[in-house]
């Protein structure tokens, strides 16, 4: 029962979303907060951003992403308090 409670839609995770370079230009913001029903993955967060933020649909469906300053895959689950970063194609060096 307790397990089921934890997965119910009443539990949410809140993440900080950061956007850089051309993604920051597209969205017109560098940082925002997103609340998602648990369990949520990076992919769920991107879907929500693409549908709920002005110009969000101009983001790619599978952008490069980092959680807490480490590259991660789209399937990675989000935890409350995570810093989710949307990274345009890299151009270091």
């Amino acid at each position: 029962m307790h397990f089921r409670d934890a997965l119910s839609s009443s539990t949410t995770v809140t993440v900080t979303v950061r956007a850089f370079a051309r993604y920051a230009e597209i969205l017109g913001l560098e940082e925002t907060t997103l609340e998602l029903d648990e369990p949520a993955t990076v992919s769920d967060a991107v879907k929500l951003l693409r549908s709920s933020i002005p110009n969000g649909s101009r983001l790619p469906e599978r952008p490069l992403v980092a959680i807490n300053r480490e590259h991660v895959l789209a399937e990675t689950p989000l935890q409350d308090g995570d810093e989710l970063a949307l990274l345009p194609p890299l151009a270091g060096g």
């Binding site: 850089f20 300053r69 590259h71 194609p89 890299l90 151009a91 270091g92 060096g93």
Partner: protein, 140 residues
């Protein structure tokens, strides 16, 4: 030492940082802003980054290199902000007992840096126009 700087990069300083009398070979790579030809003459490139991740990611690259080439010493620096054509944007140096490891560790550092560092660049052309530019969009 911080991996990020906003000042001109001094390649010789990196050589000095890895120098050690037990390490006979040192390889240094420096990448500079190319004047370029493809889209017109580049005046400068404006580099921006996810700075906290940039430091951590380069730290992870160094850790990987140390676990693979145990005797190697590696350092690097990336300049951010507006860098005029001809000036250095990134430098990595690796010292090792012998030259093969020094080259391998240095090459690994720059290849991983290019693939993994959260850095973006906007080319500023001589006519004043600007364009985002990534490592996939043209030969880098």
């Amino acid at each position: 030492m911080s991996f990020v700087t906003r000042q001109p990069i001094d390649g010789a300083a990196l050589l000095a940082q890895v120098a050690d009398p037990g390490l006979g070979g040192t390889a240094l790579f420096v990448g500079s802003v190319r004047r370029g030809k493809e889209d017109g003459p580049v005046e400068a490139i404006e580099y921006s980054a996810y700075e906290t991740m940039l430091e951590e990611e380069f730290g992870r690259i160094v850790t990987e290199i140390r676990s693979r080439w145990r005797e190697a010493r590696v350092v690097g620096v990336h300049r951010l902000g507006r860098i005029p054509a001809g000036e250095i944007s990134i430098a990595v140096a690796a010292a090792a007992p012998h030259r093969a490891e020094a080259f391998a560790a240095c090459r690994h550092a720059i290849e991983e840096a290019k693939k993994r560092l959260p850095v973006w660049k906007k080319e500023i052309f001589q006519d004043g126009s600007e364009a985002w530019r990534d490592n996939e969009s043209r030969l880098a």
